[in-house]
Amino acid sequence: MNATRVEILIAEDDAGHARLIEKNLARAGLHNHITRFDNGQAVLDFLLCRGPGPHRTDDTPYLLLLDIRMPQVDGVQVLRLLKEHPELRKMPVIVLTTTDDPREVERCHAIGCGSYIVKPVDYDKFAEAIESLGLFISLVKVPELDSKP
């Protein structure tokens, strides 16, 4: 499977953070299509094909960068719903956290998210993290989602 076909979904309520992630992904040499959602509900609607907005397509592999702290439907709720879904549970999710607070990390692990990155304020570390994530994204085997629910 071709990794460049992977579409990156960013669920992040902070436009600045999302933009920094996009810039750094590009700088890391990733030119995948990126779709941004500014809240948990929007990304759920997209993935679960609900509401009037754009919906996911069957033949596209996705990777989700998910912010934990978002208003209304937060990252934890999104993750929980995805993990309950027969198809979407296979989609790779990388959780973005603002701190390395053990409580937050534990919560993610508890609902089945193996990878998370802490958003460091230190730009270099941040770039490094995103870069290694970029590497990760280009190497990761993203399973294709079979069918809509």
Partner: protein, 429 residues
């Protein structure tokens, strides 16, 4: 018979009963003469009544007072003349006052006692109309032709007041402790959320200021490629903008450090405590080993005396000593190598450890403030966010312990830690 002053209430009651009933064996040789006569006609009995600390009142079967001793006079505020011959109900508030005759008749008829032979807490009424709580014990004396009842009265207003006060104090203390715990929890939650949410915009400030740096680099490259020579533009690109960005980034780094400190502090309050007896010799040995490099580099020395064990959470107590040793090394006097001494002694149920250094010391007026959060005495001289001692104090509080400092500027500081002793477990367990 023993001296009256040394008798217990029960002994006194028994003695009086015997005297009133005319039992010769315990009341002495003269007791025969009181059989069937008025209870206070015997000089010995009169002496008891006169000197007893308890109020003693004798009534007949109809409730008419036959005698009242000075203690009872004092309690109720009546003189004997005002009471003797009157119904004893005058010493009670309503509704007992109206009901007393019935109580007594009821007892005489059924033999079912409510107070007689039992004793209980009742309410009395003084001459001035004020009611007061009192202990009342009533014993029954059967004479040849009639029955008498003797009441032993003690005013317990003060005791009740003290009890009520103590109950109020305890309740207030419990409420205070509860609200304090709530406030603490609230504060930790606020600190957590604040530091967490404040960190989010920082990501943008730092991230985008770096973006601006990169944009400047790009502009410079572009100008070079186009061979643009402009001193004013170069001034902005090389000096003005980088300087501004540098201050922005330094500011962000500082806030980030403080927020990380806040987070660390708030996490401390939530961390689970695993209290167990700690081998402090082992703990300090490991700590000093980890500091070996730093110690060698600065020519410092750390001596650890044999230490008694304490009861604590190993990670947290380790953190405390690590902070104290770090400080002792950090605040050494540059004119002499640091000498640090760790010792400990048992004091009651506690162990008091001390960490003594020969460093720069702390001025008296600054000593209480060293435990304040983010308080730093020499911010320019040494790195750190000013949290080490605050965290140490918080940990000690959570262990029901205490930390304090004694220091002489120019001579050094000694930090003392008081922790529950490990011996307590052995004793109770």
């Amino acid at each position: 018979m023993r001296p009256l002053e040394t008798m217990t209430k029960a002994e006194l009651i028994r003695c009086l009963q015997d005297l009133l009933a005319g039992k010769a064996e315990s009341a002495g040789p003269k007791a025969d003469s009181v059989r069937g006569s008025a209870p206070d006609s015997d000089p010995r009995l009169r002496a008891i009544l006169q000197t007893a600390v308890e109020g003693i009142i004798t009534i007949d079967e109809r409730g008419i007072v036959e005698s009242i001793n000075p203690a009872a006079e004092a309690i109720f505020g009546y003189s004997a003349g005002e009471v003797v011959g009157q119904n004893v109900s005058m010493l009670m508030p309503s509704p007992d006052r109206e009901e007393h005759d019935r109580y007594l008749a009821n007892y005489l008829r059924t033999g079912k006692a409510k107070i007689i032979g039992i004793g209980r807490e009742v309410t009395g009424q003084r001459k001035d109309g004020t009611a007061f709580p009192m202990d009342l014990a009533v014993s029954e004396v059967r004479l040849a032709d009639r029955r008498l009842f003797t009441g032993f009265v003690r005013d317990i207003s003060e005791r009740k007041l003290a009890e009520a006060q103590r109950a109020t104090d305890e309740r207030q203390l419990a409420e205070l402790a509860h609200s304090l715990a709530e406030k603490n929890k609230e504060l930790e939650a606020i600190v957590y959320v604040a530091s967490h949410d404040l960190r989010s915009p920082l990501v943008n400030i730092q991230g985008f200021s770096k973006e601006l740096t990169q944009a400047c680099d790009g502009l410079r490259r572009r100008m070079k490629r186009l061979d643009v020579q402009d001193r004013e533009i170069a001034g902005f690109l090389d000096d003005e903008i980088p300087e501004a960005l540098q201050f922005i980034q330094a500011g962000v780094a500082k806030i980030d450090l403080l927020l990380a400190g806040f987070l660390r502090y708030s996490r401390l309050g939530r961390a689970a405590m695993n209290l167990q007896p700690l081998d402090m010799n082992e703990l300090l040995a490991a700590l000093t080993r980890s500091l070996e490099f730093q110690v060698k580099k600065t020519g410092a020395s750390i001596r650890v005396d044999p230490l008694p064990g304490c009861l604590g959470d190993v990670a947290q107590i380790n953190q405390v000593f690590s902070n104290l040793l770090d400080n002792a090394l950090k605040y050494s006097d540059h004119g002499r190598p640091a000498i640090i001494l760790v010792s400990g002694r048992l004091e009651g149920g506690h162990v008091v450890y001390s960490v003594r250094d020969n460093g720069i010391g702390i001025a008296r007026e600054h000593q209480p403030r060293v435990f304040e959060i983010f308080h730093r005495l020499n911010p320019a001289d040494s790195p750190g966010e000013g949290l080490g001692l605050t965290i140490a104090q918080r940990i000690l509080e959570r262990h029901n312990g205490r930390i304090w400092v004694e220091s002489e500027p120019g001579q050094g500081s000694t930090f003392f830690l008081s922790l529950p002793s490990a011996e307590q477990v052995k004793v109770s367990g």
